[in-house]
Amino acid sequence: MSSLIHLTASALAEKLSTGEVSSVEATQAHLDRIAAVDGDIHAFLHVNAEAIAAATDIDARRAAGEKLGPLAGVPVAIKDVLCTIGMPSTAGSKILEGWIPPYDATPVAKLKAAGLIALGKTNMDEFAMGSSTEHSAYGPTRNPWDLSRIPGGSGGGSAAAVAAFEAPLALGSDTGGSIRQPAAVTGSVGVKPTYGGVSRYGAIALASSLDQVGPVARTVLDAAMLHDVIGGHDPRDSTSLTDVWPSFAAAAREGARAENLKGLRVGVVKELDSPGFQPGVSQRFHEALELLTAAGAEIVEVSAPHFEYAVAAYYVILPAEASSNLAKFDSVRFGMRSKVSGTVEDVMAATREAGFGPEVKRRIILGTYALSAGYYDAYYGSAQKVRTLIQRDFASAFEKADVLVSPSAPTTAFTFGEKIDDPLAMYLNDVTTIPANLAGVPGMGLPIGLAPEDGLPVGFQIMAPAREDARLYKLGATLERLLEDGWGRTLLSQAPTL
């Protein structure tokens, strides 16, 4: 049943609902795929031993005539940043090795309630700090398109699992691009919802004012269906919006059917239109714009003059919030504890020295510096002001355009080791994705082709005003259809066979 792994989630859901395929068959096919290829890819840190039991239960409930959700029985991979009862949750860190949370993150609880089958936990940069998975304490994930290249980060495991057909769907989290940049370099689809659209309860916090959990998939419709499952208000997250959200799957279906894009104003952010980007990325981006123009969209240039300060503001705000959030790893309540003797503070300091990797230490020290007395106003205070200026840039851009677009990332997948010794070069890789996190607006990354110079996937980013996530799915699905009509097949079907 190897063909089961190549189905989209929506197609698999259809076959499950008609009884053509059982959840046990679909789940087993994916477990077999993981067993066959994950030695090369290393997308998973943990495979769920209870997956078949969960699938058996869903099949029995379906057979008994129970009304199940649209994705019931479909397998899903979960980024290791999300707490899961019964499965280790390490956030890619040695300090949490083997830790099994006593509760499920809300997005995970929603997956279970909707009948999806958890395949396991996916690899990531430690505490989601990174753009390559090279900062995982458990070794990097490899890009299914080229095993010598990075799968993006921090959610490289989720993106690679989906791109390598190890899972039809996955959950990610996006603090500065950790869903959209991996989607770009693996040829998959990823969405960072509006801040507050998906609960953060049980997502091990990196930077609380930036973090957002979202869907990873192979098609826009599949991402929308997963978003419909995980979204919505959660009283356990004080930043959770109380909005009633429209069906994103309906938006994606509407977009896929749309005959043209007449009346849609697509804003190209001048500052993100390929300044020094890889030529093939820029070329595919402009070809996609031509496709949208041919379909009737109006392309308008917009300027966001403060975006050039976004990376700097982000690398003040993120370390500041992270240094506070990571104070909880104190060797007392959970996680590892060093064997050194001494006071509780000695043990704490030795544990954090042994348990955190270099990037985590770097950002904690940077955040501690930025929050220090005498420095707070100059760094953190200024960065918060830049955040206001970036929000204003978005507001004025959205007066001229319904959506904003850019390449998802400046380059295609880089090779292992290329940026690991240059933190600033690694940070600049997030230049396209960070503004959306700072402003809380939703963003989608979807594949638009392969760069001519290296044959690797290129991503296209769509951003919408806060609360207008449906616009991403509608336009994303139209663009996906236009591209696939041109290619005559999907992008991922062009990936090398594993």
Binding site: G342, I364, I365, T368, G381, T388, A466
Partner: protein
């Protein structure tokens, strides 16, 4: 701006500064790590300092992208973790409490 243990604002980042920060952050960095981080931190701080270029006094700060106010939920007793569940992930416990080594050093 007053002198801090870190030196005045704008002063170069030295190994002493990084040692002080590591102590504040409770990370027992090795001497090699301190040397490496001193160079890296200097470069990163120089790069992020550009935030102050546009942060004029008339711009209000934003701490939260979509501010919500007065977020309360009904105070209803519900199922919470049992003591055993709460202690299950702890490195050491005595069955009802987390266990740690001495809080105060001998000299204190």
């Amino acid at each position: 701006m007053s002198e801090t243990p870190l030196g005045a604002y704008g002063a170069a980042i030295t190994t002493d500064v990084v040692s002080h920060l590591a102590n504040l952050a409770r990370i027992a960095l090795t001497p090699d790590e301190i040397v490496k981080l001193t160079g890296e931190l200097g470069a990163i701080v120089d790069a992020v300092a550009k935030v102050s270029e546009v942060a004029t006094p008339d711009v209000p700060p934003t701490s939260h992208p979509i501010p919500l106010v007065n977020v309360f939920r009904p105070d209803i007793p519900g199922v919470t973790l049992t003591t055993a569940e709460a202690l299950a992930g702890a490195p050491e416990h005595d069955g009802s409490r987390f266990k740690v080594s001495a809080i105060l050093g001998e000299e204190q």
